[in-house]
Amino acid sequence: MNNPFYGKDILSIRDLTKEDIELVLQTASLLKTNPLALPPLQGKILASLFFEPSTRTRLSFESAMYRSGGKVISVCNSQETSMSKGESLSDAIKVISSYADIIVLRHPHEGAARLAAEAASIPLINGGDGANEHPSQTLLDLFAIRESQGDLHNLHIAFVGDLKHSRTIHSLVLAAAHYNSRMFFVSPESLSLPEKICHELRSQQVQYSFHLSFEELLPKLDVLYMTRIQKERFEDQKLYLQVKDHYVLRKAMLKTLKPCFKVMAPLPRLQEIAVDVDSTPHAHYFAQAAGGVFVRRALLHLLLQPHSNPEIQAYASEKKHFAHSSY
């Protein structure tokens, strides 16, 4: 089996087929089951370029590279680079391509990852470009959903918060469309899901609806995906103050629920999930973040190793049989 990821970039969830997503998730599952299952990425270097604040994405990519046997060089403050002297992103990426084998880039401007990938001579992973996309977060979200629900198909998922600016939501909604999810979008009207994404969902005949509150939806749901209202995405801070405390999930709301019901969030958490939810069996957001290392290890292996490893093939085949036998 050829590895379709080898040497490619991961820029948008739109670039990935359902089969591509399955390969990443199966590879991540394999690495979770056996962290030493794949040949190490010895001698490989990850350039970790974060021009916008990040904790989980940056550290989990760097952890993933170290755990897979590679090394990391990093930038986490654009003021420390020659870009503060006016160097273009494209020029910086051309140079960095000769220092590393793979790049992960976070940048405040939308489309930065695609522009950088055009300049790069090595694979590039979009670690978040403004309010546009964050595909590796989506893959770890799908991984967490599958780990907690057993299957990604036919789930009822509610997305709550800033659906207009959340790149995490944009990417996850498009990916979940592959799995016949029933989607509930909960936001103030001013922060609703962009029409372009709604159009894409309609074209895939995805069932969805809009809501102003989420409490009445809870009994129907398999997954409640909470996002914070992102202060940094608002040009008008008055609007931010109007909506910032709009949605708060509290333990007292978690009464009549499906047994498998899980709360997920891309983190960081501000006030949208009360701390008392953490102790319930429904809180899955910390496990979700922890799974990010396996997913990012999977991406690094797939992008840097030319042939699909026999272990991945065997694992995928075994999982396929398992999936069939479970129906």
Partner: protein, 156 residues
């Protein structure tokens, strides 16, 4: 009052190109898009002429410059019914209809202020999509779609 006898207003050219059926008021934009401001061209712009098809139209005549199919692509986004008549010996030698290209590079500025193309020295790139009667331009970089009229700036 709109002038009715268009042909009397604009002198015929022996050799060159005539861009016809430009929506009224967009003639200057077309001149900029085709970079015809170069003083080496003798050029006539007529605005707000009567047109059976458009009601009103703009028209451009360029002396001694033969426009091409690729020029017709460039103007199509602003003049979807535009035609380029290539003139030889005062006669129309070739008529090129404006057809929407699949993509447009460099000319348009992405209206999304957060798009990387507004912050880096790089060319814009839009995919052209038609849906029902509307033409959308999708930025290759920020992945946002815009109606033609939402694009107010262009790099010329």
């Amino acid at each position: 009052m709109h002038l009715k006898k268009n042909t009397l207003l604009i002198p015929a050219i022996e050799r060159g190109s005539v861009i016809d059926h430009i929506p009224p008021g967009l003639g200057l934009k077309i001149i900029r898009i085709l970079q015809l401001e170069n003083p080496s061209f003798t050029l006539t712009l007529a605005m707000h002429l009567c047109s059976k098809r458009l009601g009103l139209k703009d028209l451009i005549k360029i002396d001694s410059l033969m426009l091409s199919d690729s020029d017709a692509h460039k103007i199509a986004i602003f003049a979807p019914h535009g035609t380029i008549n290539v003139i030889q010996n005062f006669k129309v030698e070739k008529k090129i209809r404006a057809t929407l290209p699949h993509s447009i590079a460099s000319i348009l500025v992405c209206p999304n202020k957060a798009c990387i193309t507004r912050h880096e020295p790089c060319s814009s790139f839009f995919f052209v999509k038609e849906h029902k009667t509307k033409v959308y331009l999708g930025c290759k970089y920020c992945q946002k779609d815009f109606l033609r009229d939402e694009i107010k700036e262009y790099t010329l």
